[in-house]
Point group: C2
Chain length 207, copies 2
DNA sequence: ACCTGAACACCGTTCAAGT
DNA sequence: ACCTGAACACCGTTCAAGT
């Protein structure tokens, strides 16, 4: 039973499956070939090399993310909801984030939210350079936050970490602060809070 | 001329040099051994394995970063200056950022600025959980920003990128916005602007 | 047009053997 | 206590040879 002829799509599908199950580092050309039931070298004919295979994979996943629908009564609320939706999308594809970052394509992750943000920023009355900068500030914040957050999750224990630093030296008589900093951050809450703060300032007029 | 006995410090020094010159991916055990003039396996006796070698390297670089001195007349200004100083420090060690991120130790990069931020947030009148969250929001923003920024620098050309998306569809009649988003971001400016916006909101009372 | 195995130049790590 | 070479189990990639 010789296998059906290999196609580029089949290679990408199987590669995506491998990444989904075992992470990007498990995607070796040899394992992929084994999974496909072909010789390693056949893959090269269809996708060039590992580099462009990963490129194609990233491209495909980003394309599948789909548009973001803003929710809320005010431009600020809707801009916040876009940031939250962006974070949710990225977190739904944890390996994508890692792959995109490894390959220096972080800006790829900006695009899905950009149009939606432009609309809200316009709605809030900002134009031109100021509007563009507000959009970018929110994008950088959201994507950067997810990068930090994902990274923290990957590291099981942060060696000396914040924890030890704060339980001893009780932080200038602010025990509640010391206790909070000694515990891992509540990312969900921190993201909502920081995005709200950022958006609020950025969408104000004047300044 | 048999070489002098190998020491752990010598291994770390040479490894640091290799990373500084050619980046973390150039630090292979074999190249390191060649540089040191020893057998590959000798390194294992002194540092365990590649994993813990990188750990030690990160530890050492972070320790060398030194304290951050806040500048400015108001707590908000000083908090902003801490964020800027943190970014400057991290950017001065570009490979550190990559190594720390790769190894899931991103929080490591938080610590140098944390004490300084706590002081300013206290000064601004925040206490307890709110103060802690403000500190963390600023840290996440600063570190996340640097991650995104460094990543962008690593990628020579962003394939379809923002550029193409905006020069055609002229962005809801806002030509200046379209032009700005079509150009690469001015990171320096964007960082100053976003940190100011974030700090301003976070240090306000009430809300 | 598509697939193959052999071969090359790399990796990190282990381990028995040396001094 | 420290160093060594041989060996193992991996990598990505090239290339001549097959159909």
């Amino acid at each position: 039973m010789a296998r059906a002829p290999l196609t580029r799509d089949e290679v990408l599908d199987t590669a995506a499956g491998l990444v989904k199950q075992h992470g990007p580092e498990a995607l070796t050309m040899r394992k992929l070939a084994a999974e496909l039931g072909t010789a390693v070298t056949s893959i090269y004919w269809h996708v060039g090399n590992r580099e462009s295979l990963l490129d194609a994979l990233v491209e495909r996943t980003v394309a599948d993310l789909g548009a973001i629908r803003p929710r809320g009564g005010t431009p600020a609320e809707r801009a916040e909801s876009v940031a939250r939706a962006l974070r949710r999308q990225l977190r739904a594809h944890p390996h994508l984030v890692a792959m995109v970052h490894e390959r220096g394509l972080t800006e790829r992750m900006f695009l899905p939210a950009q149009r939606a943000l432009v609309r809200e920023v316009h709605e809030a009355g900002l134009r031109g350079v100021r509007a563009a900068e507000a959009v970018r500030a929110i994008q950088f914040h959201a994507v950067g936050f997810v990068l930090v957050e994902r990274n923290r999750e990957r590291a099981p224990v942060q060696r000396p970490g914040e924890e030890d630093l704060w339980d001893a030296a009780a932080a200038e008589d602010d025990a509640a602060l010391a206790r909070t900093l000694a515990r891992p951050a509540d990312a969900e809450r921190l993201f909502a809070l920081s995005v709200r703060a950022l958006v609020k300032s950025l969408l104000e007029h004047g300044s």
